[in-house]
């Protein structure tokens, strides 16, 4: 008779998807604003807003 051997399950890795936590709002702000500046870099946002101001 065959016996089933129990294979120990690997603990499921649940990496934290979100950054943080942050000690202060300023620290969170620095993180989020770096992210924003990376997205804004080489974009046409500055140009579009400048044109809108001139209208």
């Amino acid at each position: 008779m065959k016996t089933l051997t129990e294979v120990p399950r690997k603990p499921r890795k649940m990496p934290r998807q979100e950054p943080g936590p942050f000690a202060t709002m300023e620290e969170l702000g620095r993180f989020k604003t770096n992210l924003a500046n990376q997205l804004l870099e080489k974009s046409n946002v500055g140009e579009v807003l400048k044109q809108r101001r001139n209208h």
């Binding site: 998807q17 702000g29 080489k42």
Partner: protein, 151 residues
């Protein structure tokens, strides 16, 4: 926009607004506007204040009061832009998944939001275009449609 929203406290000197989400649990939340690399464009930063005083990434959907929280954020943005009518507000999620969540939330409330705001979307191609629900984007730029109209 007259949707129910939470009362918020203002600290003008640091451009910070605080309110408390009262859904399933009580979650203090903070919103602060930070300078970006683009002139006149401020980054909207949202945080949940944890019981230990640390700040976590803002959540709009986990406390059962998403619409009221979003309406509060809209009121805060309106207040900030009324105070600074020539400025623009940028916001994005801290992860692509969270940006998608914000996009869905903005899309869900779009008809209410466009009454008061002009909303633009920053595409992955780095182009800024008028926001459309279901349009994949990396961030949002908001301005007041008419700076003279108050809530």
């Amino acid at each position: 926009m007259e949707q129910p929203h939470y009362f918020f406290q203002i600290r003008k000197n640091v451009r910070r607004y605080d309110f408390v989400s009262e859904g399933h649990t009580r979650i203090p939340k903070a919103i602060q506007f930070f300078d970006t690399s683009v002139p006149d464009l401020f980054n909207l930063v949202l945080g949940d204040v944890r019981p230990d005083g640390q700040l976590d990434v803002f959540s709009v959907s986990d406390n059962g009061d998403r619409d009221k929280v979003l309406a509060t954020v809209a009121q805060v943005v309106a207040h900030f832009l009324q105070e600074n009518p020539t400025m623009y507000v940028f916001f994005t999620g801290s992860t692509p998944a969270r940006t998608r969540l914000y996009r869905m939330a903005v899309g869900h409330e779009f008809t209410n939001l466009v009454v008061q705001f002009e909303i633009m979307a920053l595409l992955p191609s780095k182009q800024l275009v008028p926001f459309q629900p279901n349009l994949s984007c990396d961030g949002f730029v908001i301005s007041l449609k008419n700076p003279n109209v108050t809530e």
